[in-house]
């Protein structure tokens, strides 16, 4: 029953992931991708991590969290302190940043997740502001000026690796007992509780996991852009991530990936129209919510099953 099988589907997914990696890596090394495109490529990967991890909280567990930029900030600052001040290896810095963000998620999640959705939204929004305020006040991490001169350790390999890890872990989590419990909470919290699901435990778990990956994204961000400031992580960034999740579909991993990629590319293309762009996003957000509250893709996924002949068992969705 529990035999771990490396199916054909997994093989194709792995091969596809490696193929994409090598194509872009070779384009980068041959200089086919310009500096500007490279920045956006990195942002694309980081945004996918952020959108997928927020989707776990908002889309799959149904808890509206508006503090994702705060978790990102925790990861960014902790990782930057480790590499810049303590001269530790990058991998350790990423892990430490992610763990710190997860702990922050626990600290904020434990008291607030017992409450209903609206309170959670405002408490997480407040949390983002607390983190920003603390970063502003701690001189060790540069105060309002921020941290400057962070070594540029993030490259395509790191971003891609972390992105794939985030997606695989999230997809497997959702298809596990724990993930099903989270989805049950989203569908009907009271019914889930009646079925014996420890709702607080699973909400906090999803929250901490989402925060963990946001911490990774923050660490990658800090080590690509040299500079992090408290103002880098305002709630506008949290809203940006939320927009991606909503556009892609609340509860669709592939939706989040597509939306994160689409929005990052659109942002790059419409760079000169920053404000107009935000107006359009805001309008779209309202229109989508009014006419299609489940998001563009809903809970649907693009799966490899569609293009592959079914053999015997019909497996779960493979996500990417």
């Amino acid at each position: 029953m529990t035999k771990v099988q490396f199916s054909r589907k997994n093989f194709f997914a792995l091969a596809g992931a490696l193929l994409v990696y090598f194509i872009i890596a070779s384009l980068l090394s041959t200089g086919m991708i310009s500096k500007f495109q490279e920045i956006n490529l990195m942002m694309l990967g980081i945004n996918i991590i952020l959108a997928v991890s927020l989707n776990l909280i908002v889309g799959f567990t149904g808890q509206l969290a508006l503090g994702h930029a705060g978790f990102m900030a925790v990861g960014a600052y902790v990782a930057a302190v480790l590499t810049l001040k303590l001269h530790q290896p990058f991998l350790l810095a990423i892990i430490a940043g992610a763990v710190a963000a997860a702990i922050a998620g626990l600290i904020i999640g434990l008291p607030t997740l017992r409450l209903k959705g609206d309170y959670l939204a405002i408490a997480t929004l407040g949390f983002g502001e607390i983190i920003k305020g603390l970063a502003n006040n701690i001189n060790y991490i540069g105060g309002a000026a921020g941290m400057i001169g962070i070594p540029r350790l993030t490259n395509w390999t790191w971003v891609y690796l972390m992105m794939v890890v985030t997606i695989i872990v999230t997809v497997n989590f959702i298809n596990s007992t724990h993930g099903r419990a989270c989805i049950a909470i989203r569908e009907n919290e009271i019914a889930a509780e009646t079925m014996g699901i420890n709702t607080t435990y699973y909400k906090v778990l999803a929250f901490a996991m989402g925060a963990f990956f946001a911490g990774i994204a923050g660490a990658l961000y800090a080590h690509y852009f040299y500079l992090i400031q408290p103002t880098t992580f305002t709630f506008f960034r949290s809203f940006d991530i939320l927009v991606m999740v909503v556009f892609g579909g609340l509860g669709s991993i592939t939706g989040s990936i597509i939306a994160a990629a689409g929005i990052t590319i659109t942002n790059a293309a419409l760079q000169d129209l920053a404000v107009l762009r935000m107006v359009i996003y805001a309008l779209l957000l309202i229109v989508i919510m009014v006419f299609r509250p489940q998001g563009l893709m809903g809970t649907g996924e693009f799966t490899l099953d569609r293009w592959m002949p079914k053999r015997g068992e019909a497996g779960g969705s493979a996500g990417n």
């Binding site: 008291p111 407040g126 502001e129 607390i130 107006v279 805001a282 957000l285």
Partner: protein
């Protein structure tokens, strides 16, 4: 001691602005259980309407208040009809995200139309003088602006209390917030009542917006975000959905915030407010004046 009392005076005038904003939040929350994230931005629109009334129409500040209240009420009603009403029976998450979208729309729409320029009400919009006060023999000062803010707030609160408790509309509002379906069965026009609630809340926000613009001497398209969030914190502190709670919470938060920046650090002011929010949610989630209700299935 004099310093402390002076901080109380400063805190009360700031707190009364928070209280005005918090009233709008709490009324809307009480009636449709929605955090109207756009409330802070309606405040901003109100402040600008007042500004244009003073600068271009050469009206005095009292007319500016009235025009701003009318404009903001209209905006509030339109927002409710267009964005929130279709989602009244949708999942809460959808309505909340719509409210965030509306907030982003007003902020960025404001930035697009008005630009990032910081404007301020022309000098002489109100006469602002230092007034010496004496309290138990202690010499204090208050500005006429602070007294104006306090007076306007108190008058608005009395008007609100009158509307809610002594008019048919107020009775309908209380009925809808108590049980929407039962109110509908009793022949109350629920949609109209909700619209009136939005109109009232937005009018209060407009007044708060103008007062805030006078208080900080600046208006800009993003001015509503922070006061909006803090007023929401104030509403939660007092007990969301409760009108006296919003008043108490607003005043309490204003005094608390002034104390933090007076005695500790003005940079710690914003984080401390949100830490306070989380503590309140942890210790007394129903707020200072709220009663804990057990959830019924």
């Amino acid at each position: 001691m004099a310093g402390f009392l002076q901080q109380v005076i400063n805190g009360l005038s700031l707190g009364s602005i928070y209280a005005l904003i918090a009233l709008g939040y709490t009324m809307v929350y009480g009636i449709i259980q929605l955090i109207n994230f756009a409330h802070g931005d309606i405040l901003m629109v109100g402040a600008y309407i007042g500004f244009f009334a003073v600068v271009y129409l050469k009206l005095n500040i009292w007319w500016a208040f009235i025009i701003a209240m009318a404009g903001a009420s209209l905006l509030g009603v339109i927002i409710e009809r267009v964005a929130y009403k279709p989602l009244r029976n949708a999942p809460r998450l959808a309505a909340l995200i719509t409210a965030i979208g509306m907030s982003l729309l007003l902020e960025n729409g404001g930035l697009m139309i008005l630009g990032t320029d910081i404007r301020s009400y022309p000098v002489g919009t109100i006469t602002n003088k230092q007034l010496p006060l004496s309290f138990l023999g202690i010499q204090l000062t208050a500005t006429t602006l602070q007294l104006l803010i306090l007076a306007v707030t108190v008058v608005m609160m009395i008007i609100l209390q009158y509307i809610v408790h002594y008019t048919w509309t107020g009775k309908a509002m209380r009925a809808v917030s108590y049980d929407r379906d039962a109110a509908r069965l009793m022949g109350i026009n629920v949609d109209e009542t909700i619209s009136v609630t939005f109109a009232l809340g937005s009018a209060f926000a407009a007044v708060a917006g103008i007062l805030l613009g006078l208080y900080y001497n600046t208006i800009q398209p993003l001015m509503g975000i922070m006061p909006g969030l803090k007023a929401f914190v104030a509403a939660v502190i007092g007990g969301i959905g409760l009108i006296p709670g919003a008043m108490l919470g607003g005043f309490a938060l204003g005094v608390f915030e002034t104390m933090v920046s007076g005695y500790w650090s003005s940079k710690m002011r914003d984080p401390i407010v949100f830490i306070l929010l989380i503590l309140i949610l942890l210790l007394k989630p129903a707020g200072l004046l709220g009663r804990n209700n057990t959830e019924k299935v």
